[in-house]
């Protein structure tokens, strides 16, 4: 039992460091616990020379440590020096295993701890919180006593460890910093995820290193890894550079040897080094065990915190990425602030105050930020469940604005995946495209625009302000975070979407009242790509409304299943069953992972009985569909080949992700002469970097889908962008703005490999000097060689994420299409292309 520290800071990332440094500055007794032997491990693990960005730029940095955009080395160097200078009390290799209060049990403060197992079952534990001071137990058994604890351990978590005997051996490691460090070794990489594959490839890349690399995967497939990585791995295996062992796992490890369980029994082979990349366990479990509660059971949920970052466990503060702030500046500010709070400075305004003030600036009545936050939370139903801190954070990526009566908030057909909360006043929804006079009012407290959010498609109706209203526009990211953190909000949104999408689909004067019964029985289901929701010939009368994703309708003709049509989100299938009652006339399967609303047949029939005009509408719809059926049938007799081709092409395109695409580049290789003018045009119209690779990509029946952005409805790249730099533009394009920090998450996230990390090449000489005298690299993307020669600073430039922006802002539309001399390249939306017109194409 040594001294009792005032503050124990766990984790020496930006947040932890600045907290510790500030504590040191304030002269508080403190200890900084770092599990590795160096500070700020996450940034330390960045590849050498990586450029670290400092966003958001408008956020002021108030931290004891300096931070500015620059190379990894510089940043770390500064911090190391300044921590040392500040006299921070650091303890390296001090991994905290447990944090338990040493005081009396806090009455009524009992926390339910639910742990889920692989098999889906879950057990519930109850923890009685104890009052501070806390005892922090280190991995080496040592204890540290501290009044307050600042958890700044980030979201990285700890790697899953080798369970087998000898797994704790010296030559077993859980990360690979520099593949070039190892020569002439027999190295086993355990785990077939992207990390594992990338490590293995790195180790085997250079034959000169003479490493015998073996990748061990538990399963037969590399399910979790990206396609590109798997391809590369297979190539390396064929080239004999890497040995791959699937359906195998380590049984025991001893110096120089490893024993594996394989399908054909146990093998013992030479092994000098084991690199285990079996994923990492998020820190949640540990944090919960400390008595810190999370907002929800959702994977994305964050701890529930007070305005002063204090968690549900009194005296335990959570800051940094773990608190939901992935950006370095945020973290450092919070580290600083939290120390202030602990030091009793309750009046401190958060660093983001000015930003929020700006947001509320042009609203009536110059009330304080706090008042506004409170007002919004209380007025808008879905926000009610949020804490102050969450509200602040929430507002950071939302916009609030005063809309005068009559002003249009968004139009039908506008893009936008944001959700709108109506804080005050009423808005009018023009439900009928033909007649804007017909409107449905929405009143204070409700939300709208949710369809765009859910389906990722264009707005379904124009919304006007009925009175002057105050409207919060919640960015898609914020909305998703909200749904994950506030289950109530999630439920509410789902209910509203279901109701509204029903109203929108079956217009003809339905009122929410008519639907109550239907909605009561409605279930939201998530369908995996390729999963079938309707089998041809089955009986059944459920109706499915596609909330997100898309479906393909197939019909088996002469034993072959023939592609009938492509059903985008926002439409419905299965109505024939209800109306005619007969068996299903076609098979419907998900083109991509989709959400559907399943409506029971019975209540729906009741509804139809009540609303004959609805029946008429549906029948009209049906006839058009059955027309397509009969058309294909008729074609069938004539051109078997054509129908097959049509089906083949359609399926191929769906496989290529057209199902979730909004706009995809297709190249007809009957016309493409391989001049690469599309790439050149792309590069020349986008500061010298091409966003597409014509040659790469799949081809079917001379229809080529090059590696180029499809502008998905739910862009995978948006999923995890720390600076929130990826947006959908007004013309539907998904673009990356210049706040990109070059983390590469989007690149990793994109299943189609259309995002690249690269630096902007130097400016090329005038075109004519090339035309006439061959000066410079000529049109298109200059080679790295030239760039290096032309610009000394090029090597140092930061890499940023580069992707297609559909040439937004260029009147002419996509340059690749404009610049195609033969008309081989076209950019189309799936609805445009995945139609019967495709069949005409087949015939011509």
């Amino acid at each position: 039992m040594g001294e009792v520290y005032r503050i124990a800071i766990v984790g020496s990332g930006p947040a932890g460091l600045s907290a510790a440094a500030h504590a040191a500055k304030l002269g508080l007794s403190h200890v900084l616990l770092e599990k590795t032997d160096h500070l700020s491990d996450t940034i330390f693990k960045y590849q050498k020379g990586k450029h670290v960005m400092a966003t958001p730029s408008q956020l002021v940095l108030r931290a004891p440590l300096d931070f500015d955009a620059g190379k990894r080395e510089t940043v770390l160097g500064t911090w190391n020096d300044q921590t040392a200078a500040a006299g921070v009390h650091v303890r390296h290799n001090a991994e905290v295993k447990a944090i338990v209060g040493t005081g009396a049990p806090i009455p009524g403060s009992i926390m339910k701890l639910v742990t889920r197992k692989r098999d889906g079952s879950s057990e519930t534990r109850e923890i009685q919180r104890l009052a501070p001071p806390y005892r922090l137990t280190l991995a080496n058994g040592e204890d540290i006593i501290a009044d307050t604890v600042i958890l700044a351990i980030g979201t990285q978590g700890n790697p899953n460890l080798m369970a087998c005997p000898g797994g704790d051996g010296a030559h077993v490691q859980y990360q690979l910093d520099d593949p070039a460090m190892y020569n002439d070794e027999h190295i086993f990489v355990i785990g077939g995820g992207d990390a594992g594959i990338e490590n293995a490839l790195g180790l085997a890349a250079d034959a000169a290193q003479n490493n015998a690399v073996t990748l061990v995967n538990r399963g037969a497939e590399f399910a979790t890894a990206k396609d590109a990585n798997v391809k590369a791995l297979m190539a390396a295996q064929n080239a004999g550079r890497i040995a791959v062992m699937t359906e195998s796992s380590a049984r025991s490890i001893e110096p120089g040897w490893i024993t594996l369980d394989t399908r054909d029994g146990e093998v013992r082979v030479r092994c000098d080094r084991v690199i285990a990349r079996m994923g990492s366990a998020p820190p949640r479990g540990f944090i919960e065990s400390c008595g810190v509660e999370f907002a929800s059971s959702d994977r994305l949920a964050f701890p529930r915190l007070s305005a002063t970052f204090e968690s549900t466990a009194p005296g335990i503060y959570v800051v940094g990425a773990l608190a939901g702030y992935p950006l370095i500046k945020h973290c450092m500010n919070q580290g600083n602030d939290v120390t202030e709070f602990i030091n009793g400075n309750s009046g401190l305004k958060p660093a983001d105050e000015p930003i929020l003030e700006a947001k509320f600036a042009d609203l009536p009545g110059n009330d304080s930020v706090a008042t506004w936050l409170e007002r919004l939370r209380s007025s808008i139903s879905i926000l009610s469940g949020m804490g102050t801190l969450q509200m602040r954070e929430f507002m950071l990526d939302s916009a609030v604005s005063l809309v005068r009566a009559g002003a249009v908030i968004f139009e039908r057909g506008a893009t936008g995946s944001s959700l709108f909360g109506l804080a005050q006043g009423t808005v009018l929804v023009e439900v009928d495209p033909a007649n804007p006079a017909i409107t449905v009012p929405l009143h204070q407290g409700t939300i709208f625009g949710e369809v765009g959010l859910i389906s990722g498609r264009r707005r379904g109706a124009t919304v006007r302000a009925g009175t002057d209203c105050i409207i919060v526009e919640i960015s898609r990211g914020a909305a998703l975070k909200l749904m994950s953190q506030v289950p109530a909000a999630a439920r509410e949104i789902t209910r509203i979407t279901t109701e509204r999408s029903l109203l929108q689909i079956f217009k003809s004067g339905l009122t929410p009242a008519d639907l109550t019964e239907l909605i009561a029985g409605a279930k939201v289901e998530t369908i995996r790509a390729g999963e079938v929701i309707l089998h041809e010939g089955d009986t059944g009368d459920d109706i499915f409304i596609i909330r997100s994703g898309s479906m393909v309708v197939e019909k088996s003709i002469g034993g072959k299943s023939v592609f009938l049509s492509y059903v985008p989100a926002g439409s419905y299938v299965g109505e024939m069953g209800v109306i005619d009652g007969g068996p299903r006339t076609a098979t419907v399967r998900a083109a991509i992972k989709s959400d559907v609303i399943r409506l029971a047949g019975a209540p729906f029939r009741a509804l139809l009985a009540a609303k004959p005009e609805l029946l008429v509408r549906l029948r009209a719809e049906m006839t058009t569909r059955s027309r397509i059926n009969s058309y294909v049938e008729s074609q069938k007799d004539g051109f078997t080949g054509v129908v097959d081709m049509y089906t083949g092409v359609a399926n191929f395109l769906v496989d290529q992700g057209l199902g979730e695409a909004t706009d995809v580049l297709l190249i007809d290789e009957k016309l493409c002469v391989g001049c690469d003018n599309c790439e050149k045009a792309c590069a020349d119209s986008h500061d010298g970097l091409s966003r597409l690779d014509r040659e790469a990509g799949r081809t079917y029946a001379h229809l080529h889908v090059p590696t180029s952005c499809r502008h998905c409805e739910h862009p995978h790249c948006m999923a995890d962008c720390p600076p929130n730099a990826i947006h959908r533009g007004p013309t539907g394009e998904v673009y990356i703005d210049d706040t990109c920090i070059g983390c590469g998450n989007c690149q990793r996230g994109c299943p189609y490999g259309v995002i690249r990390m690269d630096k902007v090449p130097p400016k090329k000489p005038w075109l004519f000097s090339w035309l006439l005298f061959g000066a410079g690299p000529g049109p298109g993307e200059p080679g790295a060689k030239w760039s290096k020669k032309a610009d000394k600073a090029y090597a140092e430039k930061p890499k940023k994420a580069i992707k297609c922006d559909m040439c937004a802002g260029q009147e002419g539309g996509p340059a690749c299409v404009r610049a195609c001399p033969t008309g081989a390249a076209i950019r189309v939306s799936p609805e445009q292309f995945l139609s019967v017109s495709l069949m005409e194409r087949g015939q011509s």
């Binding site: 916009a399 609030v400 526009e473 290789e669 002469v673 539907g732 539309g813 299409v817 404009r818 950019r827």
Partner: protein
């Protein structure tokens, strides 16, 4: 912020694009083919109806007319080289340009030839005409290549990209190299033929024929195959040699795929090596033609 939020709600629709799926020859239902045909027809009629003194030539008013039209056409046609390379944000379709380029270029045969009044001789004027015809004919060749080859090319390359083709060959090379390590001097020498004396592309002729009889790989494959065969006569052949042979055969396959690809790419590009330089010679000749005609009026 607020303004932006409202602005974001606008239903902006992207620039109208040409999603029509038709090649450059039939662009917009062969609009330019029709235009070109019309122009040629008018020229021919005018030529037939107009009976100049003492005989038709470039010096009559019709001659000057046709000449000026042809000159302007030629200048415009040559501008496609710029249009192709300058990517302006404003709407344009290179496909349309190509279409017009091809068809109007063809109509130039009529216009230019009528301008000569069929007076040909050994002079700068006829040179200009000849160059023009060469350019047009080479262009025709290009069009035929553009229509015939892409399909074959895509069929040949499958889904393989050019770097992949090269990488495939390199990979086999590496395997060959390591597989040959235990071999004796002579066999190793043979393998080295494949490794060191195997040019993928080669000279123009080799590119066009896609065949290289003297290719190191082929020679190596032959002699290794011969050895394996010989060994088969008495008992089991050397497994290492068989492995080498297998690798050499794979490399041979990879090589011929790459060479077929190169062959077609060559055919797609070769015509330009006549078309483009001749165009500039033509423009120079035109300058000489026009200037000299008025110098010696």
């Amino acid at each position: 912020m607020a303004t932006r939020a409202i602005l974001r709600g606008k239903a902006v629709h992207g620039a109208a694009r040409d999603t029509a799926h038709e090649g450059f020859l039939g662009h917009r239902h062969a609009r330019w083919a029709k235009v070109a045909a019309a122009i040629s027809l008018i020229a021919i009629l005018a030529y037939a109806l107009h009976d100049p003194l003492p005989r038709p030539n470039g010096g009559t008013w019709l001659g000057y007319g046709l000449g000026s039209v042809a000159l302007l056409l030629i200048i415009w046609l040559s501008l496609i080289g710029l249009r192709k390379r300058i990517v302006t944000p404003r709407p344009y379709s290179l496909k349309a340009w190509t279409s017009a380029h091809v068809w109007l270029g063809l109509s130039l045969i009529v216009i230019g030839t009528l301008h000569t009044g069929f007076q040909l001789g050994w002079n700068v004027h006829t040179l200009a005409w000849t160059l023009m015809m060469i350019v047009i004919l080479s262009g025709l060749w290009g069009v035929s290549a553009y229509t015939a080859l892409p399909q074959q090319m895509s069929a040949n390359r499958g889904e393989m990209t050019q770097p992949q083709m090269l990488e495939a060959i390199r990979a086999i090379d590496r395997q060959l190299d390591s597989a040959a390590q235990p071999l004796g001097r002579e066999d190793a020498g043979i393998v080295r033929l494949s490794l060191e004396q195997c040019d993928i592309a080669g000279s123009l002729w080799q590119r066009l024929t896609a065949r290289q009889p003297a290719c190191g790989n082929r020679r190596a494959l032959d002699s290794i195959a011969a050895r394996v065969h010989a060994q088969k006569q008495y008992g089991r052949p050397d497994a290492r040699l068989q492995q080498i042979q297998f690798l050499l055969e794979r490399k041979d396959a990879a090589l011929s795929q790459a060479r077929r690809h190169i062959r077609m790419k060559t055919l797609l590009e070769l015509w330009l090596y006549i078309h483009v330089p001749m165009t500039f010679a033509l423009i120079a000749a035109l300058a000489a033609h026009v200037l000299s005609v008025f110098l010696y009026w």
